[in-house]
Symmetry: C2
Subunit: 320 residues, 2 copies
């Protein structure tokens, strides 16, 4: 069709291409929003739910600046400064994760001395065996990602994980009970898991903040603190959204400086990681941590990769 | 801008609107694909993962015609014929589901005599109490949705659910073990849960087919059948994709006519439900089943709603 000298078909194709490009770049495209309330309009089209740190680095920088001391990353993220590697929870929670992928995760964690590896409970014994003597604890998840198991089952899962070698447990709050105003049930649930974990085991409580109101987040913070948890954490990565700077600031304000706050979401590039360090972050959780430190020399040397290559005997080379 | 007589801004707005509409209707829009391999190009933009029956009714019709005897639906689906209501697993598995929403689910199931209510394990005692004497069993999920808990934990979760009143258990296969070729582990896992469920309890095994090869789906069918499961089921609704007609046909072919096959995904309209009945479906799982039968009179009466209103004493009115 030619309309007044304009090739309309070509124009339409160009507009469609521009829209597609905007979607790929994470820019608003004028398409219908379907994300969580308050999210930018392109969140509904973004398939990287829970990986906001990767897709929207600047926004995640704000989150860390707001008080997060652990932030989750995702595979494929770029290099981070040396002093960040010890703050990373190196994470792989996909249902379809294979034994080889879990083995690689452990090797990477040992090599770069990440804060922990975080895997589903089935893989805890395997990881504990691989990481013995490498100075990297195994973190696992309980009631993950829906948080809707009975407390007795969550406690049994946590106890089994600890027996299997887990040193850190990330439990999911009973979100549905919280949404129903059943705060006694929520607190008893955290207490049951805390009781199943010896004192030395780090317990984090995942809120799935995307589903909670500010009032519920405040209550969840107070409950977690009263019940003896060590960290509060925003998201599972399986909900409708990840951390926001507002939620992190709120959580930090409620729990004070002594408790950990972990923002969940992928971190795949050095820029984001550096923003976190600059902002005062003390811990980062990431699935993709390998690529971060592998690319460290690109930042001018002195990074974790260089450090690790200088200490192969204490690294994870033997695990590959 | 006016280009040769054409209002370009208006044209761009119209094209964007058309693209948005195509995305909503599940039609290809020329936007970049990001869905699972083999999925149509718009799957990557569709936010209704696991609800293909709602978004893509015709494709789901193909799935049922291929041999599915249970298909999951989602809230908001429209009316279905009378003889379908008894085939519906009335499902609510969202982390943020509230007690009131679960109560409504039970009332609807009792009123329309759905095949079961399917809820997260925390809600089983609540549902069992509400549904006592109403002829609707409580179905729950185990190792859901990642399937990556140790067998002992899955078995404990199933046993607790049965003690709490569950009559049906939908367990998730150890997907990661299957992807790692650890078929012995996968079979032992199903057997452990089967052993935890008395003979009268219906056991379904969810494969999360979106992550499996055809060879792995065949192995999972054989394992499930050998281990004494009653149903094989495609998806959790939390993975990267839902059922496909090809997978359903494959599963039906492997397990034969005596075992149940359930396709997971939302069913929200009567047309889809009618297609299923016409195709020979014997069971449908749905979260949104209420709206289905509530709108039955629109189909000319004689539907489940009419039937239910004629038998209030055995219905769920008292549960609302």
């Amino acid at each position: 069709m030619n309309l007044g000298g304009v090739d309309v078909e070509r124009l339409i194709a160009q507009v469609a291409e521009e829209l597609a490009s905007r979607v790929e770049r994470g820019q608003p495209g004028g398409l219908p929003a379907g994300g969580p309330a308050g999210a930018p309009p392109w969140c509904g089209l973004c398939t990287e739910v829970g990986r906001c740190a990767t897709v929207c680095g600047t926004r995640v920088g704000d989150i860390v600046a707001a008080g997060a001391c652990r932030v989750e990353g995702a595979p494929g993220m770029g290099p981070v400064p040396d002093d960040i590697s010890g703050m990373i929870d190196h994470t792989l929670l996909k249902a379809e994760a294979t034994r080889d992928q879990v083995r690689t995760l452990c090797a990477e964690a040992a090599k770069f001395q990440f804060a922990s590896v975080c895997v589903n409970p089935f893989w805890v014994p395997f990881c504990a065996g691989l990481l013995a003597g490498h100075g990297v604890p195994v973190c696992t998840v309980v009631g993950f990602p829906l948080g809707a198991s009975p407390s007795s089952v969550k406690a049994a899962e946590a106890a089994q994980a600890v027996r299997d070698g887990a040193g850190e447990v990330d439990m999911v709050l009973n979100v549905g009970a919280m949404k129903s105003g059943m705060t006694d049930v929520v607190e008893a649930d955290v207490r049951a898991v805390r009781a199943a974990c010896p004192a030395g085991v780090v317990l984090k409580v995942i809120f799935e903040t995307c589903y909670l109101t500010d009032r519920e987040i405040i209550a969840a913070c107070e409950i977690s603190q009263r019940a003896g948890a060590d960290f509060v954490k925003t998201s599972t990565g399986f909900g409708s959204g990840g951390a926001t700077a507002g939620h992190i600031a709120l959580m930090r304000r409620v729990v004070g400086p002594a408790m950990g706050v972990k923002a969940s979401g992928g971190i795949r590039d050095a820029a984001t990681a550096e923003m976190m360090v600059a902002a005062g972050a003390t811990r980062i959780g990431a699935s993709a941590s390998v690529k971060i430190v592998d690319k460290m020399p690109d930042l001018g040397g002195g990074g974790a990769a260089a450090k690790a290559s200088g200490t192969p005997s204490s690294g994870g080379g033997g695990l590959y």
